[in-house]
Amino acid sequence: MSAFKRRTTSKQPPLPSGTRPSPGSPATTITSSGIPSLDDILGGGLPLSCSLLTLAPDAHSAYGELVVKYFAAQGLSCGQRVCVVDSRPDSFLSECMWIPGNNVPPAPSTNASGLSHTTPAEDEEDERASEHDTKIKIAWRYEQMKQFQTTVQSTSQSTEDFCRTFDLTYRIPDATIAATRAEGRFIEVKPDENNSDVSSLCRKVLRRLSEILSSADADASSNVATRICIPALGSYEWGDLLPSDICCFLHSLRALLRRHPRACAAVCMPPHLCQEAFGGAGWVQKLGWLTDASITLAAFTANPYLTAMFSSHHGLVHVHSLPAPHTLLPPSDKFSTLRGLTSSGENNLAFKCMRKRLIFETLHLDVEGGVSERRTTPSANSIAAEAGDEHAHDNDHGSAGTQPGSVAAVQVQLEQTQIAPSAPEQPVKSAPPAEKTDTAVKKVKIKKKVGFISDKPDLYDF
C-alpha cells in the first residue's frame, strides 16, 4: 500500500472560512448548520452546493424556522455571506440567536415563535449532572460501566471555527447586523418587493438569487461561502402556490446550487404546506427527492397524549433524505452517531428545545411494565464537570456502610482520597451520609435516555 501515494496538488485552493472537508469524502466541503447534533445527523455538516429542507407540520410551534435561524446565525458568525429570502428579513435576522458575550443583549422574554418555556430551575436540573448516583448494591458490576450518551457532544478541539455554540437567550446585536450589511455579507431578497404580478414570484426570486451567486463567484479574490436562508417558502407573500410551483422552485434551487458550488441553502415551509392535505399523497417523499437533505420536526405541542408519553422531548425527528453530493451513499450512514446505522440498527430521533439550545437526541421507549428509570446522566453537551462529587458520594456511602476497623474508611475531600483509619469518627459519620443518600434519592429526576456508541469499547468491557 505504501508504494501508491495520492498525488496531491501542491496548490490546493484554501477552503472558505467556516468549512472543512467531509470525513466521508474528501472532495466534499461541509459547513455547519449551527446545531452540532443536526450536523451529526447530516454526516458532519451540510455540504456546500446542497439544500436542506426542514418541515414542521405543527401549527403551534415554529421549530423549522428556528433551525433556519441557527443556520443564518452560524453563517454570520463564521464570516460567510448570508442571503435571506423573506418579506421581512430584518426582523428575521434580529430574532436570530447569538453567542453569549459581554456586549450582547439578552432577548426579551416574549418569544414570538410560541415555544413553551420551562422555568429556569427545571432547565438547570436538565443540564446539571444530577447527583443521583447512589451506590448500587445489587448490580455492582455495572457501576464501572461508562455512562451512556444520548447525543453527540461538540468536541472542543478545532470546532470553535466550525460550529459556534449559540445561546437562545441572546439575540444578534444590531451593531453586528449593521457591520455585516456594510461588508456586503447580508443580502436581502424580498419576494413581494415590487408588488408585481404574483404568478412569477418564484422565478423572480430564482433570478435574483442567480444574480447574487454569479456576482459572488465572479469576485475571485474573496473566498466566502454563501448561505441562502428561506424561512417561509410558500407563505402568503409568495402568492398562491400550487404544489407543482413549489416542486419547480426546489428543483431549480438545487440546480442553481450545483452551478455555484460555494453556496448552500436552508429552506423551511409553513406548517400548512408540509402536510399531505396540501400536496397530495406522497408529498413529503417528493420534497425529500427534490432537496438534498430533508428532515421533519414533528412537534407535539398541542397533543397532550404524546407530550405525556415523551415528556422529556418536544417532538420527533424524521429523516427523509440525506446529502450525498459526490458519493453513492450519504456519508451520514457511516459517520453519524445519532442515527447509529453502524452499531445497532437505526435509532429513533427526537428533539428537545431547552432554554438555551436546541438538541437532537436518540429516542428510546420505556420498558413495558413501567420501569422508567435507567441510570444515565444527561447529555454530555450539558454536563457540568462534577466527577469529583460523584466519587465523594460513592466513597461516603462506602464508609457509612462498614463496620469500624474491618475495612479502612476512606475519607474524601473533593477529589483527593486519603486513607485514614477513622474508627472513632465512624459513628459520627454514619448518620450524615445516610441522610445525604436519602436526599440524593429524592432529587433523582427520571431520565430515560440511552444511546450506544459504535467506536467506543464494547458494552461489557470492564
Binding site: A59, H60, S61, A62, S109, T110, N111, A112, S113, G114, S116, H117, K137, W140, Q144, V198, A232, S235, Y236, E237, W238, G239, D240, P270, P271, H272, A277, T301, A302, N303, P304, Y305, L306, T307, A308, M309, G398, G401, T402, Q403, S406, V407, A408, V410, T417, I419, P421, A434
Partner: protein, 360 residues
C-alpha cells in the same frame, strides 16, 4: 376552577389578541359568536367593528344597539361577487372590498378595538385567493395588535376551510384562542364505542389521544349527527373545545398550550361545565370514576413477621457486602501481605540457583 370559556368571553387576558371560532356542518358555533358580540357591545369604552358577510347584523345585535356610537357595522350580506353593477371588473370589486375593510378598521377611534368577522370562508370565496385573504387578515390583525390592551380580532370560520390552518399558525399570531364546537353525540359515541369518556372519567392523555384524530375527521361527526341514529344538529347544547396558546394566565406565568373541553347550554345562556349538559347526563350516571389503583401490597396480612426492628436494620446496613470494595485501595493491615506455606514432604526446597554455572 373558573371556566376557560367564560374567561375568554370576558376578555380577562391582556395578551390574547386573536380568537378563532370554528364551526362545522355538524355543529355550529354561532351562539358563542353572538354572546361575544353582545358582550363586546356592552363595553362602551371599546370600539367594536362588526363585518357581516353571511349573517345579517340583526342576528347579532338588536336594532337599539346597532345605533350606538361605539359599534360600527359593515353589512356586506347583499354584496355578492358578479352581481354588482357598480364595478366593471372583478379585480376592482375585490380591491374595493379590501380597501373598505382596511379603512374601517384603521379609522376606528383610539382605544381598544374589537374586530369581528362573522364568516371568514365567505370572505375567502369573495376574494378568491387564499394568499390575498391571508394578507388582508394579517394587516387587520396588525392594526388590532398595535392597539394593545384588550383589543381582539375575532374570526368565525366554517370547517373545512383552507384558511383555518393558516390562522392557527404562530406566524399569523403568536398567541391564539381557538374555540371549536363539537356535537355532544361525539362524546357519547367515544364513551360507548371507544370506552373513553371525557376527562374526569378517564385519564386526560388517553382521552385526548382518542379525541383529537376523530374530531379532525369531520365526516365522522357528520355521520353521527345526521346519520341513521343521529338526532340532527341544534344549537341548544354543544361541547366546546378551547385551545389557548401563549399569553399569560392569571398569575402572570407563561403557559404553553392548554386544551380543555367545556359545554355551552342555551338553557343557561352561556358556558357551563360538561356535567351540566343534558345530553351527556348518561355518561356521568354510570359513575365510572377513574381512581389511581393502589397496587396490591403482598406484604400485608401475612402469618409471619417480615418487619425488622431498628436494631436489626442497623446491623443489616453494616454488613459488608462481598466484592463491594473491589478495586478500591487495599486496607493497610498490620501484617504485610505474605504467603504462608507449610512445605510438603515431597517438596524440595533448595536455595541454590541451578543456573549459576551457566556460562554464556
Amino acid at each position: 376552577m373558573p371556566s376557560l370559556l367564560s374567561s375568554t368571553l370576558a376578555q380577562t387576558s391582556r395578551s390574547q389578541h386573536c380568537l378563532l371560532l370554528q364551526s362545522s356542518t355538524a355543529q355550529s358555533c354561532l351562539p358563542v359568536l353572538r354572546a361575544l358580540v353582545k358582550q363586546a357591545s356592552e363595553r362602551t369604552r371599546e370600539t367594536t367593528v362588526l363585518f357581516c358577510f353571511l349573517y345579517p347584523p340583526s342576528s347579532f345585535l338588536d336594532s337599539l344597539r346597532t345605533q350606538a356610537h361605539h359599534i360600527r357595522i359593515v353589512n356586506r350580506t347583499a354584496n355578492v361577487p358578479g352581481y354588482e353593477d357598480a364595478f366593471e371588473t372583478q379585480k376592482d370589486w375585490i380591491a374595493a372590498l379590501k380597501s373598505e375593510i382596511l379603512e374601517t378598521v384603521r379609522s376606528a377611534p383610539q382605544g381598544p378595538l374589537n374586530v369581528v368577522i362573522d364568516s371568514a370562508d365567505t370572505l375567502l370565496s369573495d376574494i378568491g385567493s387564499l394568499a390575498e385573504t391571508t394578507h388582508l387578515l394579517s394587516e387587520v390583525f396588525g392594526v388590532v395588535h398595535s392597539r394593545g390592551g384588550s383589543s381582539r380580532l375575532i374570526i368565525h370560520a366554517l370547517a373545512p376551510c383552507p384558511l383555518i390552518p393558516i390562522l392557527t399558525q404562530t406566524r399569523f399570531s403568536s398567541s391564539l384562542t381557538h374555540i371549536t364546537a363539537h356535537p355532544p353525540a361525539l362524546l357519547t359515541h367515544l364513551s360507548s364505542a371507544y370506552l373513553t369518556p371525557p376527562p374526569p372519567l378517564s385519564p386526560p392523555e388517553k382521552f385526548w389521544g382518542v379525541f383529537i384524530p376523530i374530531s379532525e375527521r369531520h365526516y365522522e361527526s357528520e355521520k353521527l349527527v345526521f346519520g341513521q341514529n343521529g338526532e340532527g344538529s341544534g344549537p341548544q347544547e354543544f361541547v366546546v373545545e378551547v385551545l389557548v396558546r401563549g399569553g399569560a394566565d392569571g398569575s402572570g406565568k407563561r403557559r404553553g398550550i392548554e386544551r380543555v373541553l367545556e359545554g355551552w347550554s342555551s338553557a343557561v345562556g352561556g358556558p357551563c361545565d360538561l356535567r351540566d349538559l343534558e345530553s351527556l347526563r348518561t355518561l356521568w350516571a354510570k359513575k365510572l370514576v377513574y381512581e389511581t389503583q393502589a397496587a396490591v401490597d403482598p406484604t400485608q396480612n401475612l402469618s409471619f413477621n417480615l418487619n425488622l426492628t431498628p436494631e436489626q436494620q442497623r446491623s443489616r446496613a453494616q454488613v459488608p457486602l462481598p466484592y463491594a470494595h473491589e478495586g478500591k485501595p487495599a486496607e493497610t493491615t498490620r501484617t504485610p501481605a505474605a504467603i504462608l506455606y507449610d512445605p510438603d514432604s515431597a517438596d524440595d526446597l533448595d536455595d541454590d540457583d541451578p543456573d549459576e554455572d551457566l556460562d554464556i
